[in-house]
Symmetry: C2
Subunit: 155 residues, 2 copies
């Protein structure tokens, strides 16, 4: 079965983009990874409308990517903030991959906006596709791509 004959209904790229592929969603996650948690901080820093922000946060919480956690500041009533769940944190490689491509092709000539380094050794981190046995970075030409057990013909 060739790719063009396969159904994309259960494609995991597609299903992932159904959850995080809408406009603004990945930018909200970028901010969440940088410690942003509150409605108004997201709104001001990411720069989207409040209606869309409320919708995206609701969807991300419904998907289990964010959780709402109550908090109370002195002199304010109880509110809730949005935090990444482990499921949400697992999207980190997606964001680092987007950032890495951007640094290469559309980056500021002065260098990166955020400097991400390994805490232990101080070297800048990178995203690679690797073989778990040999730990070498692979390119698309070094892999075989075949239909897997869930491959189904297009309807």
């Amino acid at each position: 079965m060739k790719w063009l004959e396969m159904s994309t209904e259960n494609c995991t790229v597609q299903r992932t983009l159904d959850l995080v592929g809408e406009k603004w969603t990945l930018l909200l996650l970028r901010d969440a990874f940088n410690g942003v948690r509150r409605f108004d901080d997201f709104r001001r820093h990411v720069g989207l409308s409040e209606a869309v922000l409320a919708d995206r946060l609701r969807k991300l919480a419904a998907a289990g990517i964010l959780v709402t956690v109550p908090y109370q500041e002195r002199g304010s009533r109880t509110r809730h903030e949005y935090r990444l769940t482990p499921k949400g944190r697992d999207l980190w490689p997606v964001l680092v991959a987007l950032r890495q491509w951007g640094e290469t092709y559309v980056g500021d000539p002065e260098g990166p906006v955020l400097d991400i380094r390994h805490r232990d050794c101080g070297a800048p981190v990178r995203v690679v596709v690797e073989c778990p046995d040999e730990h070498t970075a692979l390119s698309p030409t070094e892999v075989t791509v075949l239909p897997g057990p869930a491959a189904r013909p297009a309807g």
Copy 2:
């Protein structure tokens, strides 16, 4: 300078999403990585409208992610197909990262739709964020994130 005080104007995640973050674009690239090259094959397999497909292919070509290459089939006039450039191929980790998250959280219980393995050893490939010195997979808690040389205060 804290993240919330930094401008996102030259954020490379944002700039990358400006090029590939529209609806359908990453799905078109998924198909391109699987060998799809022609207008009608994209349309039928990805399942988007022709007007949007024409728009997305134009934008991807303008961004240098795809190139149009003329070809001629027996009994047809010259047409052109869309192929990934090296710049486009460098988006591979983004797609593999999306796929990997999807396999973990929204995958088909039967297994992957596409089985991607290292050609040399046959092991399934994975995406990791790593330190280039030590080649160990890192989590968000194992890195430091600081403003880089291009960090600018929000306007």
